[in-house]
Symmetry: D3
Subunit: 244 residues, 6 copies
């Protein structure tokens, strides 16, 4: 049993003793093109977290389904939560985890927009003597994507509703993908795209950032597998370093 | 389709036009005795929300799995989120809902501890000209519980891991209930229980507040049915009154 | 001498030793119909607190005359203070009380709208290792009102400028009551009144919620007496439980 | 009738039309030597405000009995409220005053420690387009004290439990003064007293800052009279300037 | 070497041991008439701080160039920072200073508008057990100005772009003064100027508050010399008192 | 004249009309090895900003000398400011800039640790309808460093007190560099270095992250030149895009 919410309270002590590190997954609700649902990042977070919990021996917590989606906030259906709210959520939860005997938290996000908040949360916990935390957002993605992808990427640090993310969903939640609606769109990014605040709806019509039609379940499996193994390695190193 | 997370963004406009009121369910992670899982209120929120969305024609949002569990926070496994964090989450989300054309929000909690925060959130939205909101926590519970229950209640306003709540879980998520572990415990409440801050672990050993052994799926169905119908009625009245 | 503000500082130590629990009363400034002044809840808080301090042997602090009156805020003359401000006030004052040797605080409100904030303040003090606190708002009112009232109530949890509250004022501050202007009005509450934020000026023209004409000083005395005794009992139990 | 709390709500509109500027008095609870009560500044605020309301034609609000008493906070019995809490209180109340038609607020303090917070509150209201406000703390005191006092002052900007303040109390609330306990103490102020944070209990044993024995009711009357007239003049000028 | 920013980190320990008190200077960016630059207070802060660091043996930190300029905020070019931001800056920096072994902080402002924030910051540090701090704003100015000035002052507590401040700049940064543009303007202050929030652009056209044409470098030298010596004396007394 | 602080207020309007975009530079005070001063990033910010202002025709504001140096905070002499404080500073200043007619802000940092805060500040301004902002931290550094460096880098995204940064200082502020003390140190980064909060003093003894001895002024000139030109290009593109 690796699922916190499925335990009864008398079972918690033993479960924590066996698996003293908790896994807190984060998704997001935001547009993912015409072929993927708004809850794509929640599905990905659930799927990745389940595999990671098993691989790395972590106690999995319920996925936080809402995230910071500032960039895509102006597409209909996107629901953004501020960084401050996410940080507050993590530091609130860390109190109860600590009381239960948990000794470290893995903050795992399937959505890039959460990365800054989770990093901040980890630092805040470190400053205040809270639980040690590590913040991971699709670790190892860049390297595996380079190997897997057949279509060009649209931007070196964006994976959104494209060949790669669509493949991940085909691997993790195929029933939620409508490949018949998949499209290809390569946004023209303004020169200052990485420096100034740019809402992504100003550069994309479809909400797809690359070629979604090139996605396959097999590619998704390779990405998922690599991300999970990379995460497990990082977590192992981190646990050794901080002694949890 | 009544599930926000399952829509693609191009489908949002039409879905909202058909169903302009969103349903945001809230659960909690907290002890529920030796026979119910920590995620009981998440399961209840999911189950009740699904029925309510269908009955009342609402667009259902992903359930917020964490809630304010101050009273039971000191039982192992309970994870509490502060009122302020819950209020922030609601007001953050209301922005995106509003942009998508949603005209009202039903805040629906399967956990009593969230009630103050959701009430506050609804007022905050009202003060700031945000979306109209209604906050419901097991509406109609008192009256149906009185009819359904065979065992005594432990406290007029507490339904926790007892005959009633266990019955609800038996109706909504029977696989998560271990009736063989169900127990009966009637806490002796101190005289000032309703006035001073009292952690409930100081009055209960098992975390059960009544007689869990008296629970049956049939009782749960009656409770669920009444709560959903009461909620739908209240929502209908509210929509008429505020014009959404 | 039970009045903090009337002591000199060299007298504080001895007074606190004799009476180590302080009583902090809260009123409010809000509409109370055509026959009761805006300061009704301040008068009630003063009168009830004086009796309670004597009965329960508490050190009485000056009454906070402003409260949270969200529901009636839109009547002319109502002056509302946010919950957060009330909580801050209590936690600020608790510092000085603690330094003076006080070992517990009774937060006593003669206005229902303050209840959520005072409850929150008591919890905040509990969480931060501050002074133990108990929050009381007209304790025992429901039961004594049922016995005393001759007219119907307008709502099970509202006592506002009606037979009961007017009677209380007739008992505690008769010079401030103009019975010749007393009226009867039974609001028609919308179905969602207890769930959604409803400003009470949308349901009442006079600001009276019942039959004010049925008030008498004798009824008021009975209510006051019962509320004070109930409060004293609760405080005695609380003090025993928390050891102050 | 110049007393807000004594009005009924239907009387507010007319009262405000006649007297569109409100007077919000501030006291404090802090040590005032062995001869004056902790509530001295509340008594002074009440007395001065009553006279000022009559003289200047202002609608008087209930006195806020708690203030910022950082400097004397470590004397037993002093109860300090943070600046932020006072600012919040004022801005909260300004909302209701504005809705009632009030066009300006006089923040009047009988306690020097409130001055910074009230000045800040007035600026905050100005920045946010709230009600125009003026903040007065014993205006004209320095000039009248120079004329009235027979004993030396202890510090150019401190009037605390000395000849002057004791005289004011003898004029406004003689029953609360115990002249038989009045003492004389001239603190030796450290050189950096005005620049660094200095708790005043480190420079005074008695809490008297000068010669309290020189106080007389007549001196108090002269001070009160001058302060009220000065305040009324300033308010008149302010009202003309800001057009309220 | 008395300049923190010029040290390398391995030199810090020894420097702090020799000079355990740090000097944090504050300027401001605001209008200073037609003859002085917007950065006048930064130049003054730099110049005064350099001399003071040498005289009093302090470790000088980089000057904070922005300050609270509420009063003159509406002149073009003025850039105001809120009090809260300044307080946060000081308390943030105090952490690192403390870790480096620093035992006290001199907050030194060449701009009156910063005084309230710096006083607040010093108190905040005192309350939280942070570094002892003293807040100085042109100490001794009033007395030396009285001796030095040939023109009348415009207001007892205002020195702004007038004979005195222009003289200070002529002494500290003569290249930045354009005496050919110096003017004389005596604002007519409204009666309530010291009590109500008054933007100074409503009383001055030029932004000069007195007679700037009377300035000379020699007067400036006398002012600077006196202010630095007064500051050094106060700091010496403070260090002795608090033991740093 | 491109220097805001050097203008008088009557000159602001014309200067802003000519150069409607302001440049706000950010440095930091933190360890930079045994050969570079704590104020290295302030010197770099000043030097780069001066060139950039000239190249891109911007109105240069005074450099904020303090920054977020969380990672190196535990080296003696480092002084860190929280992200929140930096964001507050920017949004405060934006008010005055906007009033003066400025139409956009370039937030330019010579310190990587400020990047998250400045990005946040730019978004905050965008959300609140404040001035458009772009946040730049050594833009183009990676590409020019790759060309210029002769020694290996220690980490793909760290440039700290190494060949490159030392070269920049040799170009911009040679008097502050003590090449005789330059050292070489290649930290061994833990596997989780980019994911978990790691204080850099746990991986480096000297505070140098690479080979400082390989630095030359010529390399620094090339870096500076490229960064300034890259920044100017990005700013030009941004201005065109947002129309300022």
């Amino acid at each position: 049993m690796t699922d916190w919410a499925g335990l009864t309270w008398p079972e918690v002590a033993e479960a924590v003793e066996r698996q003293p590190v908790a896994l807190l997954p984060f998704g997001a609700v935001e547009e993912h093109g015409p072929h993927l649902p708004l809850g794509t990042d929640v599905l990905a977070a659930d799927g990745l977290a389940e595999r990671l919990a098993n691989t790395a021996g972590l106690l999995r917590l319920p996925t936080v389904p809402y995230g910071q989606v500032w960039s895509l906030e102006h597409f209909p259906g996107s629901l953004s939560v501020r960084d401050e709210t996410l940080v507050a959520l993590v530091t609130d939860l860390a109190g109860g985890l600590s009381r239960a005997g948990v000794r470290g938290i893995v903050l795992f996000s399937a959505h890039l927009g959460n990365a800054a908040a989770l990093r901040k949360a980890a630092r805040t916990l470190a400053e205040t003597g809270g639980l040690p935390a590590i913040a991971l957002t699709y670790p190892g993605l860049a390297e595996v994507a380079k190997e897997v992808r057949e279509s060009a990427d649209s931007h070196p640090s964006i994976m959104h509703a494209d060949e790669i993310e669509t493949s991940v969903l085909l691997a993790l939640a195929p029933d939620h993908v409508r490949m018949d609606r998949a499209v290809t769109e390569y946004p023209v990014y303004p020169q200052d795209f990485d420096a100034a605040p740019v809402r992504w709806d100003t550069v994309s019509r479809s909400g797809v950032f690359g070629d979604a039609t090139a996605a396959t379940p097999g590619k998704g499996e390779r990405v998922v597998d690599h991300v999970v193994r990379t995460a497990a390695d990082l977590i192992a190193g981190w646990r050794k370093r901080v002694g949890v």
